[in-house]
């Protein structure tokens, strides 16, 4: 076996194992952490397929950002596992049907004539100085530039929408405005009183 094969089997084993744990483990935090491991192993497998850009982006985006926020939420929840298990038997038949449909679809696709091993020959290997990233960039910004820009626009709209949801202000809640606070100067807060104040001025102050 070559190093490549060994690493493929190793990472696939970890991937399948951790994916199983994601759905079976009781604690939601642990299950999120296993999902992180699954993403990471998937990235490693992509790396062996010479898709290093995609692999690193998977780690950067999903492991580094998405799952962190996910964990953030999951950790703060106090999930009652027993109550979540209550409907298990009721939903089981539906679940089995969905799973079966998925398996049959996969089998149909992979054993069909379009995606079988014969139809998908192993792509030619590239030299060490071949830049996966540059090729991907060229494709994205030439052939697929419209699809790419539209995807970007859709995401931007989603961001704007999400932010506008947080702008709901209730009149009773008190907010502080950090930008106003940092703009405060000495003159706003402090008044220097001269020692040489006259008696009449002092009386004015007292009043």
């Amino acid at each position: 076996m070559t190093v490549l094969e060994i690493s493929f089997y190793l990472f696939s084993l970890i991937l399948v194992g951790s994916a199983t744990m994601v759905v079976t483990v009781k604690n939601p935090v642990k299950s999120a952490l296993f999902l992180v491991l699954a993403f990471f192993s998937a990235a490693c497998i992509w790396m062996t397929l010479e898709a290093e850009f995609l692999a690193i982006v998977l780690v950067l985006v999903y492991v580094g950002a998405v799952m962190v926020l996910f964990l953030f939420v999951v950790m703060m929840l106090d999930i009652d596992v027993a109550r979540m298990r209550e409907g298990f038997a009721r939903y089981l038949p539906v679940g089995i049907v969905v799973a079966l449909v998925l398996v049959i679809e996969l089998v149909l696709v992979l054993s069909g004539k379009f995606f079988s091993l014969d139809a998908m020959p192993r792509p030619a290997g590239h030299m060490a100085d071949y830049s996966n990233t540059a090729e991907l960039g060229k494709l994205l910004y030439t052939d697929y530039v419209f699809a790419f820009e539209i995807a970007g626009l859709v995401l931007l709209v989603a961001i704007v929408a999400a932010i506008s949801l947080t702008l709901r202000r209730r009149p009773v809640t008190k907010y502080q405005s950090p930008s106003q606070q940092v703009r405060v100067t000495k003159a706003d807060r402090l008044r220097i009183i001269s020692d040489a104040q006259t008696e009449s001025e002092r009386q004015e102050d007292a009043q």
Binding site: M1, T2, V3, I6, V29, K30, L33, V36, E52, F53, I56, V57, V59, L60, V63, G64, A65, V68, L69, L71, F72, M75, D129, Y130, S131, N132, T133, Q176, P178, S179, Q181, V182
Partner: protein, 347 residues
Amino acid sequence: MDFLTDIWMWFPEVLRVLVVNGLLIVAIVIPLMLAVAYFTFAERKIIGYMQVRVGPNRVGPRGWLQPIADAVKLMFKEIIVPSRANRYLFRIAPLLALGPALAAWAVMPFTDKWVLANIDASLLYVLAMTSMGVYGVIIAGWASNSKYAFLGAMRSAAQIVAYEIAMGFALVGVLMVAGSLNLHQIVTAQAGGIQQWYFLPLFPLFIVYFISGVAETNRAPFDVAEGESEIVAGFHVEYSGMAFAIFFLAEYANMILIAALTVTLFLGGWMPPFDVVPFTLVPSIVWFCVKVTMVAFFFLWFRATFPRYRYDQIMRLGWKVFIPVTLVWITVIGVFRFFTPYGHWFQ
């Protein structure tokens, strides 16, 4: 000699790859760990000097054995696992903090020849690794079963995610100017003396990157994740002994990593500042180390100077100041480079 080569070739390929890479990793990690140990010493000394004190001076001549004494002390301390803590995650968290901090060094070009893995997307790789360091912090905070640790972990996670974006945008500027994601190529593009280094055309990005780096490593004035005046010691309150030491190692290894990245991306990596004889004679690894030390010194200088930020102001700085600044400067670079005759300034 041939005989030895024969024995060597007799081993299976897997084993040979593992042994060679293992030795190379050790060759990077051991000097790095020594650097971390003496960085902690430098921190205590320099901050002491800035506060008109002398710092540690008792262990060994002028205190030079202090880090070794600290390490030995921590090794012999008991690791206490709090009650009702998640024992397994509690123990694995320090390793999750240290692992990425060391893994990122795999692609660091120390000199023209010395780089463990000269991969094409090495800059992205470094970003991916540094963004994974946050897991150690989050898991430590959650697994400790302690309010303070959890608060520290939450603060740290939100802060790292926020500053990761500003940092990423600052790097986009470097990528546009260098035209490569490969750290080695980014350095070679800065050849030819100090006027070619990217910190000049990308000055705002350089500042944003470095300050984000300070925030990303949870260092003063952005150290609210530890915030000893509010939440004791943040995410590592419950850790003692070697487990605590590993968090410490990770933090300092991350600081040196950020310093090394700043040098690589903005300060010409291993290149000498002037391309004339007395400077070019000095070996490039010396230039690299000197520059990293100078940048790392700023981490300590900041800590000695600035009071801690308030948490909402940290968030404001990250989202409302740094990200707009980087976006504006990226536009400036793009416009200048491709639509004006001054494009050569940005190359």
